[in-house]
Symmetry: D2
Subunit: 116 residues, 4 copies
């Protein structure tokens, strides 16, 4: 079976309901959880050069896949709890970024490029 956002969301909510964990999933705690998983992702690249980070070992890549998955699951729970449409929000943010970083001023430069 091929999975997509909606099928993963369904699995994630079922997983949580079976364990009665929604009670712990306040946005504050979910945001903590997401930050912790992001740092665990980052740990896979610590002390590596940027170039080395492009070629993780098979074992490290598996670990990265797990952390990216946890981050996605927290995104899904947060959007569900706060009633946010993630993809409409993202389309809006890309439009916002396009105005903030016009092509002619941004091309090939990492100056002032402190986010996105």
């Amino acid at each position: 079976m091929k999975h997509d956002y909606d099928t993963i969301k369904k699995l994630a909510l079922e997983f949580r309901n079976e364990r009665d964990w929604q009670q712990f999933h306040t946005p504050k705690d979910l945001a903590e959880g997401l930050t912790i998983e992001a740092a665990e992702l980052l740990e896979n690249f610590l002390w590596k050069t940027p170039d080395e980070s492009r070629s993780p070992s098979a074992k490290t890549k598996k670990q990265i896949e797990h952390e990216l998955s946890d981050i996605l699951l927290f995104l899904i729970y947060l959007c569900h709890e706060l009633n946010i449409d993630l993809f409409e929000a993202a389309a809006d943010k890309i439009k916002h970024n396009a105005e903030k970083y016009p092509v002619e001023k941004s091309k090939g430069s990492n100056k002032k490029y402190t986010e996105l």
Copy 2:
């Protein structure tokens, strides 16, 4: 237009190509960026109680939508750079979590519940 993962991915890659920013997008830097955005998300809940975090103001909710979007964009770029299928990885992780946290031992408890 209704957006989904694939249309957002397309927009995100176009945005990046137009600015010639792929050169800066090493996995190490993308993981840094994702962690930074996660912390910016968390900042919206700092000094708030878990209960207060359930009802953000309209302004705070907009900010949260922006941070969640940035996190999604970094997820998309990381999966693209490392050739990872995010949803297959997530399905695999949910299966892994289900074995790690059996329903009968985990129901309604936050004990040992230190991740997801």
Copy 3:
């Protein structure tokens, strides 16, 4: 023996020199390491209420002590690499914060209190 900042700094630099690890300690990597340790600290309080976080178990408290220590060690290395006097910088920052948050406007309020 009673330890203080200077004796810990001396031990930390000796530890590093013996292992020839200074080569990996770029500010970028040290800042990554510090962020990772901060998230590991935070993990001790995940899914706990703010009140519960005041009374960690003995085992959790030991873990917290380890994470706070790692954070201190990264602070020490960063200040050493970038030639920063941490305590003069902190005195300056407290002065800065006192101007940003005047007592009469800030007393007992968490409004706009989004950083320290």
Copy 4:
């Protein structure tokens, strides 16, 4: 006046008492705050190479000093709230690290060197 840990701690507690902010300073929130500041520190090195991170501009260096100071202040508050002696904890952690990373096995290698 030359500052040290104890004089900064005194200033930090006075600053907080004047604003009646201790009520917000649960360990959970302080750990969130510390993580947020760590990520703000990291932002100064995002999209930079490890080598570039060694030579921040004067403006960036000032920003780094501010973030390091905020991290120190959160460390101080956390140790105060949880009754932890930071320097004794750090001496203990260095001893622990020395056993975990014996010189002969660790010298000049970033292998398995996933924390401090």
